[in-house]
């Protein structure tokens, strides 16, 4: 199958959507499919052989922060050429409800299109204002995928329509086979994520830490992620401060080894998550997981079956649960075992097969993808015959 994937965000900036697309593309290539990824990238960014640059993204203020986006005639021409040259059986567009390469591709192409909605869509003013315009592009999409039941629900509420739920994929084996590092073992709690991003919830964990250390004096907190370390520990008493180790940014290998080593992985995120890939990675590595009870997290953890939940933004609840878990090796072993079983549904072999099922469902009996040639005004008024794009005339009816 010839598959064209559109990535809305810059390839050179690390992010969840980009990583998902990279893993998906590599999985599909391994399965013997032809894959091309269209992504914004600087001209000097080294791209993998399957990726095509759509040009440099421009930074513009959008939705309260600065977003790097692609638009304009030049980008449109590049998209059109990519769609034309690729001769794809199916297009897979990510985050089509953002002003980006994705919505542009929806606009310019026709044929079987699959769209994945990663984040839950906030009901923003521009979405309401531009809805009619956006609608005509979005209604070309033949199949929608939501990454969680939660994302699907918000999607149904805001945009109408329905979607199938296929979770994000994780290479379970990569995490399960990582070698633990002895210096990260022995009464350790792990945390991964931006230190200075309050939504990742490190402040909640910091508030809970003194109680945890008081109950289990050997406990160490390992924090992996970018941010101001001084500021993060500022509110802690001196003796607790020594129990926190900052590892800075870690490589993928070290991330897997960290998750394999810790006795407890804590995800105190306070909101803004629609899936929670880090939880799946922790479960894959066999780490017992303690997470805030966000909708998305509860779903990934099977309602608390595969990991423990605590009341969101409540440091006391976190401390109580952590103290109990750290003092109960049997419960942790049970969580490890349940997590290992639960996580198989997120492995790329399962997720990839589901995504391929969607591709096959929409391509069954449909013509291949082609640029959307809009008929000129003469054709519209019936003065000239409409151009029928190649392959479209044998569409079943």
């Amino acid at each position: 199958m010839r598959i064209g994937i559109v990535c809305p965000y810059s390839w050179d900036v690390p992010g969840g959507v980009q990583l998902h697309i990279r893993d998906l593309a590599e999985h599909l290539l391994r399965e013997g499919h032809e894959v091309s990824v269209l992504a914004p990238a600087d001209d000097d960014t080294p791209l993998p052989p399957y990726a095509v640059s759509a040009g440099r993204a421009v930074a513009v203020p959008y939705n309260g922060s600065v977003a790097r986006l692609n638009f304009g005639f030049l980008t449109a021409a590049r998209v059109r050429r990519w769609v034309h040259d690729g001769d794809f059986d199916v297009l897979h567009i990510h985050e089509p409800a953002t002003p980006s390469l994705s919505v542009l591709t929806c606009w310019l192409a026709q044929g079987p299109m699959v769209a994945t909605f990663h984040t839950s869509i906030p009901r923003s003013r521009w979405l309401v204002a531009l809805y009619p315009m956006l609608q005509s592009a979005l209604e070309k999409i033949s199949a929608r995928i939501a990454v969680s039941e939660y994302a699907r629900r918000t999607f149904v509420e805001h945009l109408g329509g329905d979607a199938v739920v296929i979770p994000n994929g994780v290479d379970v084996g990569f995490f399960a086979d990582a070698e633990p590092r002895p210096e990260w073992q022995g009464g350790t709690i792990g945390f991964l994520g931006r230190i200075d991003e309050p939504r990742k919830g490190l402040p909640v964990l910091m508030k809970a830490l003194p109680r945890i250390v008081a109950a289990h004096p050997d406990t160490r907190l390992l924090v992996a992620g970018r941010g101001d370390e001084e500021e993060a520990v500022a509110g802690l008493p001196e003796d607790v401060r020594d129990r926190v180790e900052f590892l800075g940014m870690v490589s993928d290998e070290d991330k897997a080894r960290l998750l394999r080593s810790v006795d407890l992985y804590v995800a105190p995120n306070t909101g803004g998550e629609s899936f929670g890939i880090i939880l799946v990675e922790a479960l894959s590595a066999g780490a017992p997981v303690l997470a805030s009870d966000l909708d998305a997290f509860a779903q990934v953890l099977d309602g608390g079956e595969a990991g423990q939940l605590f009341a969101n933004e409540d440091p006391d609840a976190l401390a109580t649960a952590a103290i109990k878990l750290l003092g109960d090796p049997e419960r942790r072993a049970e969580l490890r075992e349940r997590g290992r079983r639960h996580v198989r549904r997120f492995d790329w072999s399962t997720v990839g097969a589901d995504i391929l099922s969607v591709y096959e469902t929409v391509t069954d009996g449909a013509a291949s993808v082609a640029p959307d040639e809009r008929p000129g005004w003469r054709a519209r008024l019936g003065l000239a015959a409409r151009d029928v794009p190649a392959g479209k005339e044998d569409r079943p009816s």
């Binding site: 209604e139 109408g160 079983r341 549904r345 399962t350 449909a366 569409r395």
Partner: protein, 186 residues
Amino acid sequence: MTSLLWLLWVAVALLLAAVYLSWTAGRLDRMHSRIDAARAALDAQLLRRASVAQELATADILDPAASMVLYQAAHHARQADEEAREVAESELSQTLRAVFAEPGQLEAVREAPGGTEVVTELAAAVRRVPMARRFHNDSVRSTRALRRHRKVRLFRLAGHAPWPLAFEMDDEPPPVLADRTGGAAP
């Protein structure tokens, strides 16, 4: 002079309205062909499911009673005409659930010669039917929303295309086949 200007304005307005209506008609046309494609895909998946079920029923793997029930249901699903289709397909779903509800049934089928392939195909089929149905009904819903619009009804932009109907059926797969934790998943 003023009347000429007025006339010009009216002409411009009419032209704009015509272009807008024609664009909407194009949109509707595209949505109808999307429904056609989705329906074809759904038919293909339903047929695939019924075929695998029939294969399983005739493969001498299940006990005779289960074989007969499953054969009947699969046969009805394949032969049903348009009005009886939704009911027949729902009955096939129920029969499949009943057959695989028995503990150990899945393992017994797997152990039979050629059983693993049948299970894999059946698991794929029962997973794809709900998918295809969701995509189909989604396109039906968005087309209906547009067709209910005043401009579409007033100017008959939908032409003679029939009012799109959703495909309603019970497509719940047997729990053992839908289990994604390393059970039946390929």
